[in-house]
């Protein structure tokens, strides 16, 4: 239990460190960042001046950090110039959308990668294995940008809605109608995201299973006459869980970056799309907050993986 | 009058922390003296602290307490340039030369390395001296351009000794340098070591768990057990009448047969 507590503390410290890094970036911004904000007609000079003093934008770094941290803890995270409101209320729904997209994509990717990887490892050299290798090689070479554009084309051709989360017409419809609509909009971006994740997952699952199947105790189990399927699922798979769970932790980070890209291409209103817009709008706090949230998800993913490892791997518990 | 020991360890103490609170005492008030022109053997079980002692005496590790003296001069706290001047006088040869020789280098460069570090710039001069050292160890010139992994174990050990030799040391500490080689090879290299001792007035600190080999080479034997020197006598005396339990155990574990 103590080690989990330590791990949680470590994750928290990492988060704080990332926040310091982000604020540091603000401080490093050359002067004309604020000049370009002035150019935006939506923001009055008085607003800028007021916010500058309120958040200590031109004060020394610790002051700025302190103000921002206070605001963040209140759930606001500073002020959005473009939306003319506190940053928090804008971020949360977007974060939820990203989680929805990323979650579905993760589920989809794992649902394919896990059985496929196990099968490919179990039957080395068979068509399943070769198919896996081919898929991995192909998908690895195609960057997500290209994949996204191709899928976008495909979506347009097949009449899948691509762009946004909900069709305007359905905005007022009932829950089930809305959900169906969201799912239709969700489909393509989720497939794209999953396809980007798939080669990594598939190759690692297969490698982990192959490694597990080579270990002596598996051979012993076979020697005892236990059926291959049983050996595979009851003995090899749990042994391969350790690297697979670590893989999950690793994939969360890549997922965040990839989802940013996918959101941009498909117009899914998530955190990534918000960040891009905030950059264009010179919306300082939204940029920092989006970065922090993305980091937060990555750290949370790793933490969850650590907990799962602790629960699933007796060797770690014994330490 | 007693001659001044060439290399001397006085009341060395060294401990390693283990975990949070415990400490393992590796050297416990160890004192050892090596006189010029003599061979001192240091025997003991593995884990008794021999290698740590070897490293301290070769000035590769600092003891927590105590002193190392070369010809009466305290050298334990030297550093920088002064230490570098003293270093060539005491050299250490390890058991596993495969690890002590950088596998990417050629033999001739490995042997010449100390010269290079000392600042002998001329490549041809370094090569000359390296080849000279090689021939004294009985290594054919053909070996010069090979890498350590292309050599046999015995050849590698000889390369390591040649490298130690090239700096004209006064003391060579051999830390299990012959262990792991097959018996005829051990005998061969031991013979070479004796020749070198004569030609270059060397003194040896011969560390081994093999009492037979140690006894055949050395003048004196010191027995180490759990970080302490429990006995130190001329060879004949120790073999005839071992005083310590550790010495007796080692003697008893040797299969019967004459020890020369």
């Amino acid at each position: 239990m103590k080690s989990i507590g330590l791990r949680a503390l470590h994750s928290l410290l990492l988060l704080v460190g990332a926040s310091v890094l982000s604020i540091l970036l603000v401080r490093l911004a050359p002067g004309d960042y604020f000049e370009s904000m002035r150019i935006n007609p939506q923001i009055s000079n008085r607003t800028i001046a007021a916010l500058r003093s309120q958040y200590g934008l031109d004060k020394p770094l610790p002051v700025l950090y302190w103000h921002w941290a206070q605001s963040a803890l209140k759930g606001e995270g500073g002020f959005s110039f473009a939306y003319n409101s506190a940053a928090g209320p804008i971020l949360w729904p977007r974060a939820q959308n990203t989680l929805l997209l990323a979650g579905c994509a993760t589920l989809l990717a794992w649902m394919i990668a896990l059985p496929a990887g196990v099968l490919a490892a179990a039957r080395r050299g068979s068509w399943a294995d070769l198919l896996a290798s081919g898929t991995i090689a192909l998908l690895l070479a195609i960057p997500e940008l290209v994949l996204g554009l191709v899928l976008l084309l495909f979506a347009v051709h097949t009449g899948f809605p691509a762009g946004g989360m909900i069709s305007a017409a359905r905005a007022e419809a009932g829950f089930w109608d809305k959900s169906r609509d969201v799912i239709r909009h969700l489909f393509m971006p989720a497939v794209c995201l999953a396809a980007g994740l798939l080669p990594l997952l598939l190759s690692h699952v297969r490698a982990a299973m192959e490694e597990a199947l080579r270990s002596p105790f598996i051979l012993a189990a076979r020697g005892f006459g236990i059926s291959f399927r049983r050996v595979l699922l009851r003995h090899a798979l749990p042994a391969a869980l350790n690297p697979i769970i670590s893989l999950f932790g690793l994939s969360v980070g890549l997922l965040m970056s990839s989802s940013l890209l996918v959101e941009a291409i498909f117009g899914w209103p998530g955190l990534g799309k918000l960040m891009l817009q905030a950059i264009a709008d010179r919306d300082l706090f939204l940029v920092i907050d989006s970065t922090m949230l993305g980091t937060g998800f990555l750290i949370a993913g790793n933490f969850v993986a650590d907990i799962l490892l602790y629960l699933c791997d007796p060797r770690i518990r014994a330490d | 009058m007693r001659p001044v020991p060439l290399l001397e360890a006085c009341d060395l103490r060294k401990a390693y922390p283990r975990g949070r609170r415990k400490r393992i005492i590796v050297l416990d008030d160890v004192s050892v003296s090596l006189y010029p022109g003599s061979i001192l053997a240091l025997v003991g079980r593995s884990g008794s602290g021999k290698s740590t002692l070897a490293r301290c005496m070769a000035l590769l590790e600092k003891p927590d307490n105590g002193e190392i003296r070369i010809c009466g001069l305290a050298v334990t706290n030297l550093s920088g340039g002064e230490l570098r001047q003293v270093r060539p006088r005491v050299q250490l040869v390890w058991q596993h030369s495969a690890l002590a020789l950088n596998p990417r280098f050629r033999v001739v460069d490995l042997i010449a390395e100390p010269l290079r570090i000392q600042g002998i710039v001329s490549k041809s001069r370094r090569r000359e001296q390296a080849l000279a050292a090689m021939s004294k160890l009985g290594l054919p010139e053909a070996v010069a351009n090979r890498t350590p992994l292309q050599l046999s174990g015995g050849q590698r050990q000889r390369v390591a000794i040649a490298r130690a030799l090239v700096q004209r040391p006064e003391v060579i500490i051999l830390d299990e340098a012959l262990s792991g080689l097959d018996i005829p090879l051990q005998a061969q290299i031991a013979a070479i070591l004796m020749q070198l001792k004569a030609s270059f007035s060397l003194s040896y600190l011969f560390i081994s768990h093999d009492l037979r080999m140690a006894a055949s080479l050395a003048d004196r034997i010191a027995v180490m057990d759990e970080g302490k020197i429990v006995e130190s006598q001329p060879v004949r005396d120790l073999l005839a009448q071992p005083q310590s339990k550790a010495a007796r155990q080692i003697l008893n574990s040797i299969p019967a047969g004459p020890i020369q």
Binding site: G17, L21, L25 | L59
Partner: protein, 341 residues
């Protein structure tokens, strides 16, 4: 297949690609800025060998595109004049490697004619030429960024691994921090606070610097591991016993190994950084108009019409995939050769 195993072949292929984009001025018939507003979004020029009267001509020729009356983007060939293709033709001047002026292009035609091998974009600029110039940006940005990040990682890893204690702790914690932020978020965050509009040269350097500094953490960790294990080897201790200084030990015994790990890493990173530049430019945060990069060329595809009807605009994507495939081929060949040893 034995020849597939040799890493020399993909290496040659990569060198060729890089060579071609370096000599973009020569291979491209036009520069990247020249606009032809009357032939915007035109399909690739068709190359003919047979005249309308079925006469075969050895030298290929092309026709101009003419806008079909009453349409915005539909073209038909203007058969009134045939423009023969010229090879090693004189054309717009350019500079080889930005130094030596030249005006010979691989192919071209009379100024009144147009040979758009890959059609034109929405401003009527030749896509083929922009592809080559854009490739120069994307491919070299990736190369240089990988170089910078690995160099920084090498330095950090060597310091951390060799000197240990607080230096090691600090560097490793910093690395952990940089790795805790998703890479694209970090890249964008850093880019966000720098001026949006910079001259193309400035942006290019900027890109390289950013991507480079963000990617130091992973190589640093790897190098540190190698250095740690090398530092404790007995041959390092032996060198110390000969009186070697830290500097000597680092230079002679530790750096070569650290360096070879770093080189392996660098090779893996180049395709990733190329992709990163393309993504950044795609968002409009990289090299700006009118300088092409494969990323900002792909940005045009965000318009529905272009996405659906202008297949030639996918060229940068196709080329990117091809280059990445060649890199992948190179890695496989390298690693299989390593295993075979």
């Amino acid at each position: 297949m034995a020849f597939v195993q040799s890493p020399k072949l993909p290496l040659v292929a990569l060198a060729t690609v890089y060579g071609i984009v370096t000599m973009a001025g020569f291979f491209a018939p036009y520069d990247y800025e020249r606009q032809n507003r009357h032939t915007a979004l035109a399909p690739p020029t068709r190359i003919h060998f047979v005249e309308p009267n079925s006469r075969f001509r050895l030298r290929p020729f092309v026709y101009r595109w003419k806008l079909r009356p009453g349409t915005l983007h539909q073209y038909e060939e203007d058969h009134s004049i045939a423009f023969p293709l010229r090879f090693f033709a004189s054309g717009r001047p350019y500079k080889i490697a930005a130094l030596i002026p030249s005006w010979i292009h691989l192919f071209g035609t009379r100024p009144e004619g147009n040979v758009f091998l890959l059609g034109t974009d929405e401003y009527g600029r030749d896509v083929f030429s922009r592809l080559l110039y854009g490739g120069r940006i994307s491919l070299f940005a990736g190369l240089l960024a990988a170089g910078i990040s690995v160099s920084l990682g090498l330095a950090a890893g060597v310091f951390a691994g060799y000197y240990g204690s607080w230096i090691d702790e600090t560097i490793m914690r910093a690395a952990e921090l940089f790795l805790a932020v998703p890479w694209l978020y970090l890249l964008l965050a850093v880019r966000a606070f720098l001026p949006l509009r910079m001259d193309p040269a400035g942006v290019f350097l900027l890109l390289i610097a950013i991507a480079g500094t963000i990617g130091w953490a992973r190589p640093a960790r790897l190098v540190r591991g190698v250095v740690l294990s090398a530092r404790n080897r007995e041959y390092v201790l032996a060198a110390k016993s000969f009186g070697a200084s830290d500097f000597y030990i680092l230079r002679t015994h530790i750096l070569p190994q650290a360096y070879s790990v770093a080189m392996t890493q660098a090779r893996l990173y180049i395709p990733q950084y190329i992709t990163a530049e393309v993504v950044l430019s795609f968002f409009g945060l990289g090299v700006g108009e009118p300088v092409p990069s494969w990323g900002n060329m792909l940005d045009s595809l965000q318009s529905l019409f272009v996405l659906e009807s202008c297949w030639w605009m996918y060229a940068p994507a196709a080329l990117l995939v091809i280059v990445l495939l060649i890199f992948e081929w190179f890695f496989r060949a390298e690693s299989s050769r390593f295993q075979a040893r």
